[in-house]
């Protein structure tokens, strides 16, 4: 009560990125590059592109979730998270690179006709062509290559700008102190959240939903947002726990973990809510142009994975994280976070694969290799940016509250 914990912790300590983690993350990136090269040389160009899109999107989403987390804490003027906010900030700092990777893969897939060929092919919008598709022609005003790429670049550019602006303000706060940077961060965050809220659904429509351009669902954007937020929270929790286990972040106690666990638990249920809302409306209305999406995923090829998706992303967090004790235990949170990160990979897999490779989908070197490669890339870039700053924003106005966090 009212005691000052500052003396107990070493706030000047910086994360040192070296040793095993560095070696393994570089090896993972090389492994991923090898798997992608194998995919192209063994004649699976389309499948490799589908995997690249999946992982690049996942990677960007996790980084964007970091920026979203930081902005959310500022807008809510949250105190509990002040001691761990440097981790989502490190995620946010990787966002520009992740965005470039995603834009590169989308553009390469688009122009090489490996992705988005459902709406991007010769003659689709030409009434005299044998390939004429009246539905695609009707959507061409929105779904055309220049506008599509412009949207992607503008959205990701705006997210990256705000992500960097927020981390920069936090750095300035470290040096100058005072409330100026904090107040500015609130303003930036509020603007960012409004833009982010309105544009992430469009981002999801463009990057993922347009793979099956005939089909549409207005819930799809929120569904993707929920997946993004849960996987981002899991990545944050994992990073926090592993840092704590390696002797950093000594000030993080089980109450902080409890809050992160509650977040994961709540948003797993939110994910299910949105997933089910989309499913129920389509099932109930039973309009062929809408049911086609679930029809594909209900074929024997995908049906077991369709069910596994629900079990992994809803049933398991619901049952495992329901009690208070479970949310406060590091080992349980590590298990659930890794499990959910795999679960949301499957979730994205179920979004991407039926519309791209369909029955020629697979699960082998390409899938696993690409996933490991991107995970390694994320860990490498995130820990590199984390190691450049002290692990705690020493002049954060609510730092003391975070150090004494108790629920």
């Amino acid at each position: 009560m009212g005691t000052n914990h500052t003396t107990k912790h070493n706030f000047a300590q910086q994360f040192e990125f070296s040793g095993k983690v560095k070696t393994w993350s570089v090896l993972a990136v090389l492994l991923g590059a090898g798997a992608v090269a194998y995919g192209f040389y063994s004649g699976h160009a389309e499948r490799t592109f589908a995997n690249l899109l999946l992982m690049a999107y996942y990677f960007t989403c996790v980084c964007a979730a970091g920026a979203f987390f930081v902005a959310l804490q500022y807008v809510a003027q949250a105190g509990w998270s002040a001691g761990l906010v440097r981790i989502p900030q490190a995620f946010a700092k990787v966002l520009p690179i992740a965005s470039l990777v995603l834009i590169g893969i989308v553009a390469a897939g688009l122009y090489s006709h490996n992705l988005y060929h459902h709406w991007h092919a010769d003659g689709l919008t030409d009434p005299n062509s044998p390939h004429y598709d009246p539905i695609i022609a009707g959507k061409a005003v929105y779904l055309n290559v220049p506008f599509f790429l412009t949207r992607l670049v503008v959205f990701l550019g705006i997210y990256s700008f705000f992500a960097l602006a927020l981390t920069k303000l936090s750095n300035r706060e470290d040096l100058e102190g005072g409330l100026n940077s904090y107040k500015k961060s609130i303003g930036y965050s509020a603007v960012f959240l409004v833009i982010f809220g309105f544009t992430t659904p469009i981002w999801a429509f463009d990057t993922i939903m347009s793979l099956e351009a005939h089909w549409f669902s207005t819930m799809f954007g929120w569904y993707n947002f929920a997946a993004m937020w849960v996987s981002g929270l899991c990545a944050i929790t994992l990073t926090v726990i592993f840092l704590k286990r390696s002797g950093y972040l000594t000030w993080i106690n089980d109450s902080h973990l409890h809050d992160l666990g509650k977040f994961i638990f709540a948003f797993s249920i939110f994910w299910t809510y949105v997933w089910f809302a989309q499913f129920l409306l389509i099932y109930y209305a039973n309009i062929p142009e809408e049911t086609v999406y679930f029809y594909k995923r209900w074929e024997p090829e995908f049906k077991p994975w369709f069910w596994l998706n629900i079990v992994m992303n809803f049933v398991s967090p619901l049952l495992i994280l329901m009690t208070r004790d479970a949310k406060r235990k590091e080992s349980v949170l590590i298990f659930v976070s890794i499990f959910l990160l795999c679960g949301h990979w499957l979730d994205y897999y179920m979004m991407v694969m039926p519309g791209t490779v369909g029955a020629e989908r697979g699960f082998g070197i390409i899938e696993v290799g690409t996933a490991i490669g991107f995970a390694g890339l994320f860990v490498f870039l995130m820990l590199t940016s984390l190691s450049k700053k002290p692990l705690v924003p020493v002049n954060h106005p609510f730092l003391e509250e975070s150090l004494n966090h108790h629920i």
């Binding site: 009560m1 009212g2 129920l280 109930y284 208070r324 108790h406």
Partner: protein, 178 residues
Amino acid sequence: MSKTKYILGHFADPDEMMHGIDKLQENNIPVYDVFTPMPIHGIEDKLGVKRSRLPIAAFCFGATGTLTAFVMIYYMLVYDWPMNIGGKPAFAIPDFVPVMFELTVLFGAFGMVGTFFFKNHLFPGRAPRVMDLRATNDRFIIAIDAQEVKDAKKVDSLLKDAGAVEVLHNERKYVSYE
């Protein structure tokens, strides 16, 4: 001194009150209860208050709600009066989910509020039982059961030393709002 039922130590400051609890516990004087106008972090651990079992009640009520909804819809839509709605089978589980979800929330919420009221003796029209009115305003109060204390004078001096602004010897347990 025998008529005294409860000794109440009034504190103006929560830290001094926490200090007072420490002093009493060091001298093996059992604390009956503590009343504060706001939540004090860490006080449950200090007093050894057990964790609330409200979540267990919530789970039971929620599960009851799920089951009630399932039985209700099953009876209405499958057993009693099956109807063809949009060509769907009578026993179409996706249709059941929203109602089951909503009744889970409804039962869980009302059940928890009801349990809380029941356990705390709060009912509409009933005067709440409080040991001291100022505990709801500006005083942090430690209550000690006088029957369990041999030397009341020692308790008084311990409380005063810890910073109590006032020590009351009450002959009734509760003062109510009536």
